[in-house]
Symmetry: C6
Subunit: 211 residues, 6 copies
């Protein structure tokens, strides 16, 4: 793998909250969670390749999966955004499949997935049901601090339609995420076990493990 | 029971409001209320073991049930959160079963139970009906002081669905709590009577009483 | 009746607004209103005994009915709170029964009755329909000055359910209040007439009149 | 008529907005408007007798109808409040009956009538449909300056029920007002014509005109 | 026409936005727009006579139609307010009839028409469906700067009824406006052509043109 | 083409966000996006002629399409506003037709299209369903910073009707935009390819390419 400056690495998926001492159980959860992100990324041609996966706690993060942007894109396409949500939900999908239980570890991932999905619908007019229309306006941000909290300029009926559309993108991404991981459950276990033992994988090793 | 530092004891369930002079009736209510928390905790393998139960008023608290965290967990699983609600509602469940009446003593317990249940649905995406989506955003906290009061970024329809899901977690936990206590009503009376007489039980004695 | 310090008397029901000069009609209304509170209190074993009834205007109050707390309770039970509402609505119930008209004199009573009923439902989880859940949170109080005005964290549907439950407690209490007074209408007249003549009754005399 | 101090006269009904120069048409409207208030008052035994009627503009007021409180009441009964609304709507009722058109002159009257009706329902629990419950709370007044603007602590469903009840009191009062005036249309014309000629009527003269 | 001081001229209808250089097309639109206002005014006996019509841009205004108040009215009747809306919508009505297209030129007219209609319903109780009731209160104006923005003290159901009533007044006025102009389309063309040529008409000339 | 001062060029459509280094893919997207704006403009007689198209990134803009106002219009007609929306959606329409995917590049276009459509409905009374009425008022702008965020003075029902009307204008414009481009897909490719090669087209060259 060629030289990469830290600055060019922009996408970090699934940096989970973590305190200093790590239990065996938490280590296992983190390993499967991060492996989930990494494997989903691998199978989505739209997404930048995995650059590094780690389950060594660093600050608030219990682990992370980095991908490496190939070039400096100006626009993001709808299909790219959809796949980004699939990647973000890969951690929770892995937890469900492996443990049959889910944890608070995915809270940041699903918050970001929700934000992307909502922006697709309300800011980029990418929902087919609602069409090329924006809802809410960036101008109120100053007053309420955040796009989400802007004063609503549409009806309850449209608000419900927006919720339906936002949910659709999320749920179909979650399904895709689970399908990829179920189909590649052996690879998921392989990567997770490698992580539990080695705590870190770089991009080349990851590609090797996936082969 | 091995040495435990005060600092490692983090979970205190059911510290009830109490003024200085305690009537016989209030003492009885507190004893059954705290015994309820303790016994429910005992029968949930997911929960940390009971460390101490007391009905000696201390500050605002009329009594308390402490459990002892076994290790320093990084993530909390959905099933663990569900059981935590079962424990929190153990006090009220005991009151209903024993006295056929309920009191204001459980107000803090149900407030915490509601908060956990709401977070499961809106922050951790743990409701099956709503899926891995977040509702509301932490960013408004600055303006309205609390997650709960954040400006709503979803429709009335979703708000109603959230309420249904929050209620489901609470009600099924309350049922579980009552079932455990009804099945172990003799143990409940035994522990409560011991508390009325001795005002305090430590973890070892509690295990002994439960045997 | 044994010595009682002013400080131990905590419950004053039905202190009505009143200006200095009192018309005969107002005096009669006050007498029946306060007698209503007192007689309802008498027939509810859950409530503390009547300590004093007065129709002498004092400050803003046109009259009052005091009861004497027997001991220093820590918890208030649901049945106790229900009966407190019955007592609070005793004044208005008496007006309706005797005059076939109602007055502004009960506004403070019904405000307090509504507050108790609302707290039972939203703060103490005492409504069977809604279960052991809290609605709204004390944390916003700082911003809007009052529990009632807190930013709503639940749906319109739940808001309507809360209203139904609050109303149920009030209406069933009002019915109970009217039943007690209709069944004891001669006692009501007797106490009211005594009050019109003597302006004040102490607890012992009141028990005597009720016999 | 015995001596009356200005200070004892508290109720002024229908002080209408008016600029300095008065057209014949406006004078006629004011005369019938004030005569409407006065005659409705006369036929409601619940209301204090008319003390003075004037159509001489004074400040913002185009005319007024004063009544004289008989004594210093402490409570206001529901039936009294209902009749006060009848009086307040007497001006508009007279305009409709005489001119077949209505004017902006009644805006202050209907604002006060609405306020009384709303208070009956939300503050004094006088609506049979909603019962002895208060809605909204006086505590928010500080923040929004007015009972009306207080943060709502009830559901849309109850808000709609309140609106229905408020409207009922108003509409039944308006009907009563029109009935009284239609039945006494000759008296209405008589008083209005007298006012147009003399601009002022005192209580004794008014009683004489009504005979 | 007798001497008129500028100060007595209070009603200016249809002062449209305009920049310095005027295209032929804009001049034509303004001429028909103002002629629309003037002719509708002429056929409504309730309205003050036209005093001057101009299509010379002045400040922000592209043209204007002034009428001359006959006397200093104290009250405005419901029928007068309805006709004022008819006049305000005369400009847009003329555009529709003549060009089959409408423009932004009427935005100020329809804003004022909406405000009058809304005040009729919510402030003057002039809607038959809603009756003599006021909605919202002037007291909040201080906080939100405008009657419109006042905190709502009524239900969604009533809000929808208000909207229906406000719309009814507007639509029936718009119909009346179009009927008058369609019936007098030759006069409309006559006045508009005169305006295009002369840019200004005074009241006497206008009456002459209408004959 | 005659001399044109920069100052007279007021309409710039589709200035897209762009960072310094441009990928081949982004360049292609921009070229088709801008060509879409330009060609739609060309086929709408209502719109000012195209003056310049560029895909050279400048500041935040990845490209732009300028048209040249023919004269200084005072009013904008409804049909003109509708066509302006068609032009604004030409970029996204081109992306859909050519790539079968859409991008974030149109977010500013659809925000402006939504704003025009909303103003047509709420400010200029140009929706046939809602009629010549304004909704919301400019007066609140001071408090919430933007027309959109103004306190609502209409019902949910009307809010939903407004949303329907706003959407109608947008969707019919988007259809028109796609129809024009599908019918002229060869011209679209021709202009886009020319742009990819030359990065800039002036008005005369554009007309030549379209021939």
């Amino acid at each position: 793998m060629r030289e990469i400056e830290e600055a060019t690495i922009k996408v970090v998926v699934g940096a989970e909250k973590r305190s200093h001492k790590v239990t065996e159980n938490d280590k296992k959860i983190t390993a499967y969670h991060e492996a989930g992100h990494a494997i989903v990324t691998y199978f989505l041609p739209n997404q930048d390749p995995v650059y590094q996966v780690s389950i060594i706690p660093r600050g608030m993060a219990g682990g992370y999966t980095m991908s490496m942007p190939q070039d400096d894109k100006m626009y993001i396409s709808k299909s790219n955004m959809c796949d980004k949500i699939v990647v973000l939900l890969g951690g929770r999908a892995a937890e469900t499949i492996i443990f049959g239980d889910i944890s608070t570890g995915a809270s940041n991932d699903i918050e970001r997935a929700t934000e992307i999905s909502r922006n697709m619908v309300t800011k980029y007019g990418m929902s087919e049901a609602l069409g090329p229309v924006t809802f809410g306006s960036g101008h109120e941000e100053i007053f309420l601090g955040k796009d989400y909290g802007s004063v609503r300029n549409y009806s309850e009926k449209v608000a419900a339609e927006i919720d339906v559309e936002v949910n659709k993108f999320i749920l179909s991404a979650y399904e895709k995420s689970k399908q990829i991981l179920e189909k590649n459950i052996e690879k998921l276990k392989h990567v997770a076990e490698y992580l539990i033992e080695n705590e870190k994988i770089d991009g080349e090793k990851f590609v090797e493990l996936m082969a």
